[in-house]
């Protein structure tokens, strides 16, 4: 069934499908000169952002593959990762071993949380996104219960540098001096004065390869099937619920690792806040890369990181030079991050509707042809 569209309609459709990235290109095109940053500075910043964030964003891909939309529940993974980091910095494990150990600790926690999250999402079918979003908030409460009241009281944490003076609960900020940039500096080379953390990028590459490989596996195929039509998949004997849960688990675990890499680059853990906004920013970046709620690939991830963070870096400076208030730029980028998510969610829903009306349009066309 092909409804003949005019050239302009086609063009508009293409524009519509890539609206968000185009929008961002425009913003950056205006912003860069305004900010007055040097190309070199921007380049090095971008490299840092890529090595810092892309792992987190990649962790969003698999649930999308399984048709569960954007997994705002990745916050759960982030929490697991943070718990791992808190523990190792209490034990005083440093450097690469520290990072790996943190990952090992985070894994079982992520798996459990992910499993639970997946179960809930299966119950709330059709509104996965908002549910996973609320799950994030809910778990944040539990996380605080554990970290703010459990640690030092129930879970043994001894280091005074971590504990609040009252003897239990972790401080607002934990200094991760032990593992700070441990991975980044492992293999740091300079290209035209731009420092490039090869080791981190290598890890990310491996992950991307894994994703590509994963799509080839039976599990990947099943997820694609489930993502397209649960009923058909079920009829074919695929364990739909189980598959969906697995996709969330994988995503959560990766989110945990991503969070650890992210924090080893930052160097300080914002105990009660780091994880909260990470989900939002990752999702925004992915969408900026041209992904939609139902379709996303690795290209989107990297395009997204570059465009989104370019905007992020330049906006305060641009704001300052424009109106003389850096704060304005900061608000602006928050606005943009949320705006982007809003826009792409709306576009997604609208497009879904449009495709449903496709048949009707065609029938109408036939009738016109007849008369």
């Amino acid at each position: 069934m092909t409804l003949h569209m005019t050239k302009t309609q086609k063009l508009l459709r293409i524009m519509g499908n890539n609206m968000v990235p185009i929008l961002f290109l425009v913003i950056c095109a205006f912003g860069i000169p305004l900010s007055g940053y040097s190309a070199n500075f921007l380049a090095s910043e971008i490299v840092i952002r890529i090595s810092r964030n892309s792992f987190l964003i990649v962790s969003l891909l698999i649930p999308i593959l399984a048709g569960m939309g954007l997994n705002f529940g990745m916050t759960l993974g982030a929490m697991a990762g943070q718990i791992g980091l808190i523990l190792i910095s209490d034990w005083g494990i440093v450097g690469i071993p520290g990072i790996i150990l943190a990952m090992i600790i985070s894994t079982p926690i992520s798996v459990l949380l992910g499993w639970w999250c997946g179960k809930i999402l299966n119950m709330a079918r059709g509104r996965e996104m908002v549910t996973s979003y609320i799950i994030g908030f809910f778990m944040n409460g539990i996380y605080q219960l554990v970290v703010l009241y459990g640690m030092g009281a129930v879970i043994p944490v001894r280091s005074n540098a971590l504990l609040l003076p009252r003897g239990y609960g972790i401080r607002n900020t934990v200094n991760l001096i032990g593992i700070r940039r441990a991975l980044d500096d492992l293999l740091l080379i300079r290209l035209f004065g731009i420092p490039i953390p090869l080791a981190t990028l290598l890890v990310i590459t491996v992950l991307c390869l894994f994703i590509l490989w994963f799509k080839k596996t039976k599990l990947g195929q099943d997820m694609r099937a489930v993502g397209q039509d649960m009923e058909v998949a079920r009829a074919a004997g695929i364990k739909v619920e189980h598959t969906r849960i697995i996709s969330i688990v994988i995503s959560t675990v990766f989110a945990g690792y991503g969070m650890i890499l992210y924090l080893q680059n930052i160097g300080t853990l914002n105990t009660y806040n780091s994880h909260m906004q990470i989900g939002m920013f990752s999702v925004a970046a992915l969408l900026v890369g041209g992904a939609s709620v139902s379709k996303a690939n690795i290209r989107n991830v990297f395009l997204g990181v570059i465009l989104f963070h370019l905007m992020f870096i330049i906006s305060p400076m641009a704001g300052k030079n424009l109106i003389g208030q850096a704060q304005l730029g900061e608000y602006f980028r928050v606005f943009v991050s949320y705006g982007v998510i809003t826009i792409s969610l709306v576009l997604y829903e609208v497009r879904k509707k449009r495709d449903q009306h496709y048949v009707g349009l065609q029938l109408a066309a036939d009738q016109e042809a007849l008369q």
């Binding site: 694609r224 004997g237 029938l363």
Partner: protein, 508 residues
């Protein structure tokens, strides 16, 4: 082997039994034996039916749009290449063996001898190719140690959605298969096909096998009679003379098209005379349901609807209702009722919204207050009139039985006091008692208030019982209009898309 019969004759039920689908087990199971190759079998689920080498292609496709033909054919049965991860995470982490998949798909398609591109996305396929993909999937189920290769293939109305030439190539493919030793049960409404392709023909009606004959020398007329049942002229009903010359045309549909999924109306032109009861019949999926839904504006529609001489704008129920028409939908739970609300609401709502009944006005009509008393009164009267069985008028609609729900829907329509009433499948899924009551109510309403009624039903006999004329819809077009008194065999012919000589004489 060709299997045919009217809708609800029990064809699909039989097939479901054969497949041991769970709805059979839920709804009281079945008696008798199924014997395959001499051995008695008892399937508890479709899976072990498949294991016995029985494949079925359902009417509605179960294909994934963004998968290629190959991927769909081998869905969840993909051959795998070993990877080391599978030891750790189970074999679902093995890689798909694309070459092997292609081979199997090619072989399966090859057996059909149809031009089906195995790498084409299903979403881009013409409907015929989708059909072939489905069949190919069944064929690709080859003998393994657990599963026997496909031996018996059931095709449930495969040609209903196909164009002529597509159908032809499908029939060819079927012959090939049967020659290659696969037995096929072929369910269809297109009798000619059945006669052409089948060796044996089995006709069902009211859950019984009426006839099982070899296809040689069978003529369509016979089959039609077997299907519809009653022999020529056996129908007995008080035909009320209705003279069309002196009664004005109340509603006329002109080149109406409706995009109602599964019930597409292509080009319908109809005149409805004042005070008559017009029946609209036809096979499922031919578009008869689309007509009222389109006219009402529940589905995107085009063409002309002229009521009492003035044209009614389409695609907005408001105009339809304001003009003084009402519609009792076939989809009771979806469209007909507010399941979570009381009977009062269900019955009074439409009238309240359209004609501002049951409202108290304050501040010079600025504030329109719901008049509970009036609503209860009205509801009570309808409950009595239609013998709706309910604990109280406050009862929620979802707690009623199907029959009573249908009555509520009628009451809702009556409350509007329409000049013309569309009633769609009024007796679907309700017990005999309720059936006759509903039909009586309709007839009574028509005779007392002179309301014109257009009744859509797939049960020919009930149409013939209460209508003055019956129009048969086929392939989204009016295929013929006959007085209800006409012999049912004629209708049978019309339904299955056969013009007959009598038609010219009979049509008004």
């Amino acid at each position: 082997m060709g299997l045919l019969g009217e809708n609800g004759a029990g064809k699909s039920t039989l097939m479901k039994i054969l497949f041991g689908m769970d709805e059979i087990h839920q709804t009281g199971g079945y008696g008798g034996d199924i014997i395959i190759n001499g051995e008695k079998v008892q399937f508890s689920s479709p899976i072990d039916a498949l294991a016995k080498g029985i494949g079925m292609v359902h009417q509605e496709f179960s294909l994934l749009p963004d998968f290629t033909a190959t991927e769909n054919i081998l869905l969840n049965r993909e051959p795998l290449k070993y990877t080391v991860f599978s030891e750790l995470f189970g074999e679902r982490l093995n890689i798909l063996d694309r070459e092997k998949m292609d081979q199997i798909a090619e072989r399966a398609i090859g057996r059909l001898k149809v031009p089906l591109d195995k790498d084409m996305m299903v979403s881009q396929m013409p409907v015929g190719h989708k059909q072939f993909t489905e069949i190919a999937r069944e064929l690709s189920k080859e003998a393994t140690d657990v599963v026997e290769g496909i031996k018996l293939l059931v095709l449930d109305e495969p040609t209903a959605v196909l164009s002529e030439q597509e159908a032809d190539s499908l029939l060819k493919a079927m012959r090939l298969l049967s020659e290659s030793g696969i037995s096929i049960i072929f369910i269809s409404h297109r009798l000619q096909e059945i006669i052409d392709v089948c060796n044996t023909i089995m006709v069902m009606r009211d859950g019984q096998i009426i006839k099982t004959v070899p296809s040689q020398g069978v003529v369509i007329a016979d089959i039609a009679r077997w299907m519809v049942g009653r022999d020529v002229g056996s129908s007995k009903r008080e035909a009320r003379g209705f003279d069309y010359e002196n009664t004005p045309v109340l509603l006329s549909l002109q080149n109406l098209w409706v995009d109602m999924p599964g019930e597409v109306v292509r080009d319908v032109s109809l005149d409805v005379h004042k005070g008559e009861i017009l029946g609209i019949g036809g096979m499922a999926g031919q578009g008869k349901l689309g007509i009222p839904n389109g006219a009402m504006g529940l589905f995107p529609a085009g063409g002309k609807v002229i009521f009492e001489g003035k044209e009614i704008a389409l695609n907005n129920p408001r105009h339809f209702l304001d003009a003084g028409m009402a519609f009792v939908s076939e989809d009771r739970r979806g469209v007909g009722l507010l399941l979570d609300e009381s009977l009062e609401w269900n019955i009074s709502f439409t009238a309240m919204q359209i004609q501002e009944k049951y409202l108290k006005r304050y501040l010079g009509g600025l504030l329109k207050w719901r008049d509970q008393a009036a609503i209860e009164e009205e509801t009570e009267s309808y409950v009595k009139q239609l013998e709706i069985r309910c604990t109280s008028t406050k009862q929620k609609a979802k707690e009623l039985s199907g029959g009573n729900q249908q009555k509520v829907c009628l009451a809702k329509a009556f409350a509007v006091g329409p000049k013309l009433l569309f009633v769609s499948e009024p007796t679907r899924g309700i017990d005999i008692g309720a059936k006759s009551l509903v039909l009586k109510a309709l007839r009574k309403y028509n005779e007392e208030n002179g309301t014109t009624i257009v009744m859509i039903s797939s049960e020919l006999e009930e149409l013939r019982a209460i209508c003055d004329r019956v129009a048969i819809i086929s392939d989204g077009k009016v295929f013929g209009i006959l007085p209800a008194t006409t012999d049912s065999a004629e209708f049978g012919l019309l339904m299955i898309g056969q013009k007959s000589q009598v038609l010219e004489g009979g049509s008004v």
